[in-house]
Symmetry: C2
Subunit: 355 residues, 2 copies
């Protein structure tokens, strides 16, 4: 696989981004939505920040209080034996789970695709009870002249998917929760297929403990139904623990190409690809039996949450996949993968699942 | 609370129902959808059956194989130390979880509301990959002359909600999965409110481990969106562990009255009631601080899964709630509760949650 990683990776780091307040620090900028706008490459960054702690024994996190419409600071003593700090992403207390950072979405623009100018203030910031723990992992899909932005809205109520839209990336309209908890990695297809809109979804079955890819259809992008199962993890493979859609799918001659993410039992995140039928996108035509991108470099292996490559979007241009991807839940990197190399890795599903 | 339990309860028992095959036995008939049809009381029974085991050390269960379109028998040795048989509802093996019975839906009719004639064959039987572990807990909602039946479709893919409809209770049309996993206790409102259909839903947030009541809206009953949180468990109360919608809501002067179920940390299931705003059914006006029906009699306390009263439907007639309810996941009982007594138990939400 001829993956070309940009030599100056990561292209965007936490220190490139201003926090929203002087008493906050940005600890991660990763998992960005991607599109072209006015000729520029436009990224919608997930920016994770937290209050700066002045006491090494005290962990602070910020949450949005929708009733009071303000940010509250939560304090946790690292010496409290009842609190579990083992997962860097989450603080588990007897009175509930809290995230260790609060994410919002921020715009960055680039002429050349690798040098970005980052906005000083958020494009979308927590604003309602579904977003009190933040906005994460946005996807941008251009449909009929409107840019639809869907993102994970997370709160103690659950992990939901929220829909917003914009025509200019200056004002955004929110359209409510389109997928109830827990459901993330929702990916809108860029056009109607057979008269319906489609989205990949990643609901969770708590009873059977599976994190797999489903598809839903919609007349209008706001209301979704006819949910169907698409694909799951492959035992003993690189994606044996969880799978979810990642980038917005794009059309090639053979079908819809979807770059998805797979996770193994050690929480190692890689990217793979799946080819879906042009007219029946719930049907898998082929799937890569191995990753098309996996954590290999220092910046992919080490960081806030290491061994992670994760994308929310790519540009398919010049017969290449131009992949913007989060690394180690810390920074954003850029890589190019020739389409031809992805196609070579695609195998019939039966061959992959029979591995 | 003047609950009148029918003296000859339970009114329908497993031995009242023929299995679908001579080598099967019915182990439960419970959680029935309820409506009036042609003047009769019509119940859509959940009938749980399993293959009769000829060996005391061998447990058998049936699953529907959608690829082969036939029932398969699974065998588990009770002497296998790797298999967990502790939950009577589920067999947990290293290669996955299986239900101990396969449920289908069966029609029963009555002139007097307590003596029922039960069909010999199923109305709805597993027929696709989402139903391979059975059809459970149907609700019937009459909307504009059509009876909509939604039920839990369960399979290794997850716990989903499927929609079907009928005009005559002879032929049913299936409309696909309307709520992806895990989401059950979906309850359709019987009319449009402000131009939209509404349904209560009970999604699961795996991350925060909550089982709470949400509401969604729809233009057409098939596609659902604008998901909103409605209500959760109350700490230290009878419903402190899980809550979910139960009966189809009905209009009273003050709003929509919804009989819901609550579960405590000992898996004791009771029924409560919540009053929702007439025009904004996502708003709670009042809620019962204590159950309106709780397991008290022998047949409610003892059975396949004891200490359970659970309803999928009731008739609101003669100023009474005529409640058909599953008892101990075994049989169906009947009780009447005067509306007046339910109304007396309703309190402002703040008073309930401050208990």
């Amino acid at each position: 696989m001829a993956v070309f990683r940009w030599p100056d990776n990561p292209i965007i780091k936490p220190q490139s981004v201003n926090p929203t307040r002087k008493d906050f620090e940005v600890i991660g900028v990763f998992n960005a939505g991607v599109t072209r706008f006015d000729g520029d490459v436009l990224l919608l960054l997930r920016v994770a920040e937290r209050p700066v702690s002045k006491h090494p024994d005290m962990e602070l996190t910020a949450v949005y209080d929708s009733a009071k419409q303000q940010i509250l600071i939560k304090e946790f003593s690292k010496n409290d034996p009842e609190i579990d700090f083992s997962d860097p992403r989450m603080t588990i207390t007897p009175w509930g789970k809290f995230l260790t950072s609060l994410s919002h979405l921020r715009i960055a623009r680039s002429k050349d695709g690798v040098n970005f100018k980052i906005d000083d203030s958020p494009a979308l910031f927590p604003a309602n009870e579904y977003e009190s723990f933040g906005l994460e992992d946005p996807r941008i899909t251009l449909i009929d002249g409107t840019y639809y932005v869907n993102y994970v809205a997370i709160s103690p109520l659950g992990v939901t998917t929220y829909l917003a839209s914009t025509k200019d990336f200056e004002t955004f309209e929110r359209h409510g929760v389109i997928a109830c908890p827990d459901n993330k990695d929702v990916i809108l297809f860029p056009e109607k297929i057979g008269g319906k809109y489609y989205s990949l979804q990643r609901p969770v079955t708590a009873l059977f403990e599976k994190y797999e890819i489903w598809i839903a259809e919609s007349p209008d992008l706001k209301y979704w139904g006819n949910h169907r199962y698409v694909m799951g993890s492959v035992p003993h493979a690189w994606d044996n623990s969880r799978v979810g859609g990642s980038a917005v799918p794009f059309r090639i001659d053979a079908g819809w190409l979807e770059v998805y993410h797979g996770v193994d039992e050690d929480n190692r995140y890689c990217l793979g690809a799946v080819l879906l039928d042009v007219e029946k996108p719930w049907k898998i035509l082929a799937r890569t039996g191995e990753p098309i991108l996996e954590p290999k470099t220092d910046y992919e292996i080490e960081g806030f949450f290491g061994n992670v490559v994760f994308t929310c979007g790519l540009l398919y241009e010049e017969d290449k996949l131009k992949v913007y991807y989060g690394v180690a839940d810390t920074s954003i990197a850029y890589a190019e993968i020739p389409l031809e190399d992805v196609l070579k890795k695609l195998k019939p599903t039966a061959a992959v699942e029979g591995n």
